[in-house]
Symmetry: C2
């Protein structure tokens, strides 16, 4: 922001970057594969045994990994597997949805160790933020009871809320105009002292799937999230893709046909908001989740009608996503009860033909992801963890 050089160049790197990267690679390898010996790690990362030994010793001293009992397996000296220590790091995830907010604390491997939720006023961010800071403080105290060194091991706060961000004017009734204007990140940074990151809810969902779900270890996946709105979280080359302005994947506003009066945004037909409207339910209703879960389980005619319409558009959305991204798999996630999400998944089938329909596929073209209403908050919390520990290009380079 201050004194930007007119010269465009990528940042260089040095031994620090090398070291940081290799540590991250070790941590990711352990997350993806469970427990590994140093010899295994050396083979998998192409580093020497000695380099791996040094790094592991380092990580062990930092409390991020721990040795298990030696294992005898065939000839040769028994190996000592190492695994991640869940209590090695924690992060806080904050989901801000239209009518409620959720806060979770997750550990290094993605376990939820504390959670809290509360209602949220749609049009008044200021008291809402007080509520949020209260929830965060509460979960932090819970965390302190679990882990003595928790504060030192807290790597950040991830925020997930419906996008898109930073547009001209939010006169769209499906949005949250008051929240879009509020200096949320600054307030949260000041109020918590943590490093704060922001994602849209689909991105958070994709991050959750990547850390603990169906996208675990998959480098190219698209996470289609049907929540109050609808959006896609994009995992490309093993990293979340945000776009030029952080709004990539905001397909809720995609028009369903080239033009004309029938051009409807996708989110007006395939989002829970549209379902609530279809059913005449109040979105602020406290028992909404249970109600639509019961209706879906009972295969209520109105719900099934909505499902059919939404599935029709989603089928085509999957086709477009496959055609454009060529992902290894598409993951359908939802803030909806599993009964509803499952029926929606079924209704989307059979899928339209596309380039994804290729020989030698290993992963399904479309699969159901996490259908836990807390998934978004977990994904939000996974973002700082990923930022701190996952191998990524930017982590090798100097500066920030």
């Amino acid at each position: 922001m201050h004194d930007i050089s007119p010269i465009r160049a990528k940042s260089g790197t040095n031994q620090e970057g090398t070291s940081a990267h290799n540590r991250r690679v070790m941590i990711e390898a352990l997350r993806l594969n469970g427990a590994l010996s140093r010899a295994d790690l050396a083979r998998a990362t192409q580093l020497t045994k000695q380099a791996v030994s040094n790094i592991i010793e380092d990580l062990e001293r930092d409390g991020l990994v721990v040795a298990l009992d030696a294992v005898r397996k065939g000839r040769g000296q028994p190996f000592t597997p190492y695994r991640l220590v869940p209590e090695g790091a924690f992060a806080i995830g904050l989901q801000i949805d239209r009518h409620l907010t959720r806060v979770v604390v997750v550990d290094l491997v993605g376990n939820v160790v504390a959670r809290a939720e509360a209602g949220l006023p749609l049009d008044e961010p200021s008291p809402g933020v007080q509520t949020i800071l209260g929830l965060i403080a509460h979960t932090r105290r819970e965390l302190a009871d679990i882990s003595a060194q928790s504060e030192r091991r807290l790597v950040g706060l991830g925020v997930a809320m419906p996008g898109p961000f930073g547009l001209k004017e939010s006169d769209d009734k499906w949005m949250m105009p008051a929240w879009q204007q509020f200096p949320l990140l600054e307030t949260l940074t000041a109020g918590t002292g943590l490093s704060v990151g922001l994602q849209n809810d689909a991105a958070a969902c994709a991050t959750a799937e990547r850390i603990v779900g169906a996208a675990h270890g998959v480098d190219h996946a698209v996470c289609l999230y049907v929540g109050y709105g609808i959006a896609a979280g994009l995992i490309l080359n093993g990293e979340l893709y945000n776009g030029g302005n952080g709004n990539a994947g905001e397909i809720g506003r995609a028009l369903l046909s080239p033009a004309g009066p029938g051009a409807t945004p996708l989110e007006h037909r395939a989002s829970l908001a549209s379902l609530y409207q279809h059913l005449g339910l109040n979105p602020a209703d406290e028992h909404l989740y249970e109600k639509i879960g019961a209706l879906a389980a009972a295969e209520d005619a109105k719900v099934m009608g909505w499902i059919e319409g939404a599935a029709h558009d989603l089928r085509w959305s999957v086709h477009l996503i496959e055609t454009i991204f060529d992902p290894q798999t598409v993951i359908l996630t939802s803030g909806a009860p599993e009964a509803l999400a499952g029926r929606l998944l079924q209704a989307i089938h059979p899928l339209l033909p596309s380039i994804a329909d290729r020989p030698g596929r290993r992963l399904p073209r479309l699969q159901l992801g996490i259908t836990d209403p807390w998934a978004i908050a977990v994904g939000a919390a996974a973002e700082p963890i990923s930022r701190a520990f996952d191998p990524r290009f930017s982590a090798i380079l100097k500066a920030g």
Copy 2:
């Protein structure tokens, strides 16, 4: 292929990776900014003056950069700018289109130093490949006349042809089934002794735009290529995105509406193939390019009719691309004459509203890119150059 470890992990890195990355960063900085002093480079890349000096000395010895005259500017010692040496490296680009093939040799900064073209049989790859190898040998001899050390400085051969690749069965008449089956890359590798890379034509186009065109220095851009077919080249985070199977951006096969008998693939309505059909022209006609150029310049009714239809669909494609990728700009490129491409661009306007319609934009939402029929071949040649000299994550890591 052989003995794949079941352990999933990213590769580690070491000083070699560091060094390779920093050299690439220098080269990219010089390509993007023209000539820079070592002090400028140090500031831009965050490396120390000393590190930059060592690397520049190295690059100079390798013949990749050269010092210009010292420049006095304000206080302090005059600085010595360095610039890239075009003859520092060469690459061959091969475009295989439906009815013809083009070969170019480009230098380090993207200048074409030799070119050749020939017709190609659609259904017989084998004699076609002999033609291609002949063209390559021919341009190589031309190159040898220009640069004595040319062979040593040839970094690779890039191939661009219409995708998608590796599908089940190419019973689609718009495709080139015979070519899809032929072991092209192996034959070319054996026939030239060069390292060979493959892209679809839109990706090649995007690479060309990135090296010498509208996407120069832009990190998030989508290149919409209207050629015989239609596809999008995706530049995400400053690198070309290929997808899980190398078929990302193949939007020609995207269906234009959710379902029903009217569901037409985009390429049946917005591709030059569809124009030829609309006009009743033979795609193998030698003077096709001139013919449609003249018709477009004369605003022929039939051509304008096709433009209107194609623009209708492309307008919506741009909307979808913006909504999904949130790019900084969308670039319309085409193998068509400028008269036609320009009118098509005009006809696409006004654009549909989208998240790209945001305050503080610097780049146009949609702009015309290179409309040179040789652009694809140049982009194909740019791929090995980029692979050899551009900073990228994979270049830091070991092996690969």
